[in-house]
């Protein structure tokens, strides 16, 4: 059950005391409380709440904390929760309500403080002749954090909090304030971001570079590679602090994109000079691979638990404990990699190599070719390879061919997404969707296969280090069997999916778009 929440500001009343006086003069209210605390706006590293028009704000006072979740678009309060401690994930709230509301948006991401400011709140109640509260109001002021004793206001506004069954009083109050007293709707979170020079939604995990058809390939590819390097760099601190598992995921995907582009788009840079960077990308991929496998398994753990019963569940918990310990070790190794001289040097040298200026260009034979030509050529070649491998795999199914096909599919996707801005949006999205349809099936086969291998390896490892309880061995076997069944089911779907992918219509689309 959501309630509307109205936030109104008046340009002439920018201080708390002025706004307070005005409200008391307009409404016959009783002041209930005055509080000073800290307001923190929370969001994921990649601004998922902001992108979905949600605002999550946490007000900390001496007596405790109040969490409020709002929808900016339809001005509703979705959740108000008092007495919470610091929350990192939606599941941290005792009754799981926040998690249930935000799970589709936030998924595995942690909440981070995007902005923290001092807040002053004066609360009022408007009552009828029976002393029944018919409306709650608050005058709220947010201040610059660095303004000390002489607080500098960022925003002062009135918040109208309707009571269920008495909404008309809030509507009347709002009308009075807007029609007669020059108040207007405001969004204080945006004012805070603006005042603190925080750019919401500034982080994007996907490559989004604006290219033009006649741009040189060298310039175009440089921009894409640099953007992916920036994405990697932005995620390193989150990896070090182990805030959530998506930091490593975004880091690895950005690295894979660059590695794939360097391999696929030839002759833009001197190939011999690129070899050492390809080795570095390979090193980073290997250094982070096990950690990512552990992250994925542990995050899906509850689902695995649901698939088992009784003693098997207890056995799986023993495995989980072992893997959590292993993850801690891997994480320490990962932090060493992030802090290593080799990684720092890799970032610096690759940037310098890519961004070489006109006086000292580091270019290959096709550097000056228009990017549209190079993009079309690379995508067509990759597509043909994918079709060829797909037909072979359809005719003669084996896991290795599926694995290679999936890798080729990813390479094609990275190319298509990297050069996205060169093509009409609608058609390109169709291509991405067609690819996704195939890749999802390939992913299921490969993931389940990998899962079985990992389970076997972990069982062997555990055997080497400790006595493995009987119920753990049984649980691993049963889970392996479940993965095997899912893999077989996905295998059955493969031929049909590839038929859809390689249909005449889709082939025409590819040929037309990347001609």
């Amino acid at each position: 059950m959501n309630t509307d929440i109205h936030q109104l500001a008046c340009p002439m009343l920018r201080s708390h005391s002025k706004l307070d006086r005005q409200i008391r003069s307009i409404f016959y209210v009783q002041c209930v409380s005055q509080e000073i605390g800290t307001r923190t706006y929370l969001d994921s590293f990649d601004w998922r709440l902001f992108k979905s028009a949600h605002v999550l704000e946490s007000d900390y006072f001496k007596h405790g904390c109040v969490l409020l979740l709002r929808n900016k678009t339809n001005k509703t309060c979705l959740l108000e929760y008092a007495g919470c401690e610091q929350i990192n994930f939606g599941r941290d709230l005792p009754d799981g309500k926040l998690g249930a509301l935000l799970q589709p948006v936030i998924e595995q991401r942690a909440f981070m403080d995007t902005a923290s400011v001092p807040v002053r709140i004066t609360s009022y109640e408007l009552k009828d002749d029976q002393e029944k509260i018919i409306l709650r109001l608050r005058v709220i002021s947010l201040y610059r954090p660095d303004s000390g004793a002489k607080r500098k206001s960022i925003s002062s506004y009135v918040e109208l909090l309707p009571l269920r069954g008495y909404e008309k009083h809030a509507i009347r109050a709002r009308k009075l304030l807007t029609d007669t007293f020059d108040f207007a709707e405001c969004e204080p979170s945006l004012e805070v971001f603006d005042a603190l020079k925080i750019l919401p939604n500034s982080y994007k995990s996907k490559t989004a570079v604006n290219l033009s058809h006649d741009m040189s390939s060298h310039e175009a590819l440089s921009r894409i590679l640099i953007q992916n390097l920036n994405i990697m760099e932005k995620n390193t601190q989150g990896i070090r602090e182990d805030i959530d598992i998506e930091f490593l995921h975004d880091f690895r995907v950005a690295g894979r994109r660059n590695r794939s582009l360097i391999n696929q788009v030839r002759d833009i840079f001197p190939q011999s000079r690129l070899k050492k960077y390809q080795r570095s990308f390979s090193w980073l991929s290997q250094s982070t691979s096990l950690h990512r496998d552990l992250d994925v398994f542990l995050s899906d753990f509850d689902q695995y638990l649901e698939q088992l019963t009784g003693e098997d569940m207890q056995g799986l918990i023993t495995l989980k404990q072992y893997l959590q310990k292993t993850r801690q070790t891997e994480h320490r190794k990962l932090v060493r990699v992030m802090n290593s001289v080799r990684y720092k040097r890799f970032q610096q040298e690759l940037r310098a190599f890519i961004s070489s200026d006109n006086n000292h260009p580091v270019t290959g034979p096709s550097a000056d070719t228009a990017i549209i030509e190079v993009a079309n050529h690379s995508i067509r070649r990759c597509y043909r390879r994918l079709m060829k491998h797909g037909k072979l795999a359809s005719a003669n199914y084996c896991y290795e061919s599926i694995h290679d096909l999936r890798k080729n599919g990813k390479k094609l996707r990275y190319l298509v997404e990297g050069f996205r801005s060169l093509y009409p949006t609608r058609e390109l999205q169709q291509v991405v969707n067609i690819l996704k349809n195939l890749q999802t099936n390939l992913g299921e086969i490969v993931d389940m296969h990998t899962q079985r291998i990992l389970l076997t390896n972990w069982e062997l490892e555990m055997n080497g280090k400790q006595t493995v309880p009987e119920n753990t061995i049984k649980a691993i076997e049963n889970l392996s069997a479940i993965c095997n069944k899912k893999e077989e089911k996905a295998q059955e779907m493969f031929k049909q999916r590839f038929r859809q992918f390689s249909s005449k219509t889709n082939q025409n689309l590819f040929n037309h778009l990347f001609a």
Partner: protein
């Protein structure tokens, strides 16, 4: 969502006071609570300062002409809402009688707000009627405030017989002693008889207290105007025992 109902065939035994005070205890334990004041007298509505009026009356709720969400009113206490009483509830039996599945109408109505509340408490009128049967079918437990007298025990026995005779009526009964005066020897003896005869009886009791009567003066749950009173703590203990049984 759990559904409780304060119920007794006899009147003036503390149903409304119990409903109001237990609801307040529930919100203090971070539950979202709705009280439905089914008594045409509108005592619970009075305590919460809400006008005992439902647009369209009970008729509109039963006939589905008005969604229950449209009639719910927030009280002065966060997370505690009220479906107000209405004088037309006196005819509720007649309205229900004309409907199909007349004993399950309330179940259907409550489905509309299943996700909005953790607990619903019905404050029932004193009678056995079609309204009561609706409550018996949809409630998880009946909370039965029982004054320690022989007639009260007899009324409870009648209720139990009735519930036993109805097919599919598996609501549990949680009687508890109310308005107990330990200075009276009879109350003490009947208290022992009560717990011996009815194993389902709650151990917590509510003693007679003039503070409860002051609810009419303050128009609020006891804990709002006298947090430290013995009866406030008694309601806390009663609530904990009820919730432990029902959760």
């Amino acid at each position: 969502m759990k559904i409780l109902a304060t119920y007794n065939i006899k009147g003036g035994v503390g149903k409304t006071a119990s409903a109001v005070n237990l609801a307040y205890c529930a919100i203090q334990n971070n539950l979202r609570v709705l009280i439905w004041d089914l008594d045409p007298q509108g005592a619970a509505s009075f305590y919460f300062r809400v006008k005992p009026k439902v647009a369209g009356g009970g008729f509109s709720l039963i006939q589905k002409r008005r969604h229950i969400c449209k009639v719910i009113k927030a009280t002065n206490y966060r997370n505690l809402d009220l479906v107000p009483a209405d004088f037309s509830y006196r005819d509720m039996d007649l309205i229900l009688h004309d409907r199909k599945k007349s004993k399950r109408r309330f179940e259907k109505i409550l489905r509309q707000i299943r996700d909005d509340y953790d607990l619903i408490i019905f404050d029932c009128p004193p009678s056995i009627s079609l309204v009561s049967e609706n409550i018996f079918y949809c409630a998880d437990a009946l909370l039965i405030p029982t004054i320690p007298t022989h007639l009260s025990f007899r009324a409870y026995d009648q209720l139990k017989q009735f519930l036993k005779s109805q097919k599919g009526m598996d609501v549990s009964t949680l009687p508890f002693l109310y308005m107990v005066d330990r200075r009276k020897k009879l109350h003490v003896e009947l208290g022992k008889l009560f717990s011996g005869r009815y194993p389902e009886a709650l151990k917590s009791t509510i003693s007679y207290s003039s503070i409860v009567e002051k609810m009419g003066v303050y128009r609020a749950p006891v804990k709002v105007f006298d947090q430290s009173a013995f009866v406030s703590r008694a309601f806390d203990a009663l609530w904990n025992e009820i919730w432990g049984n029902v959760k």
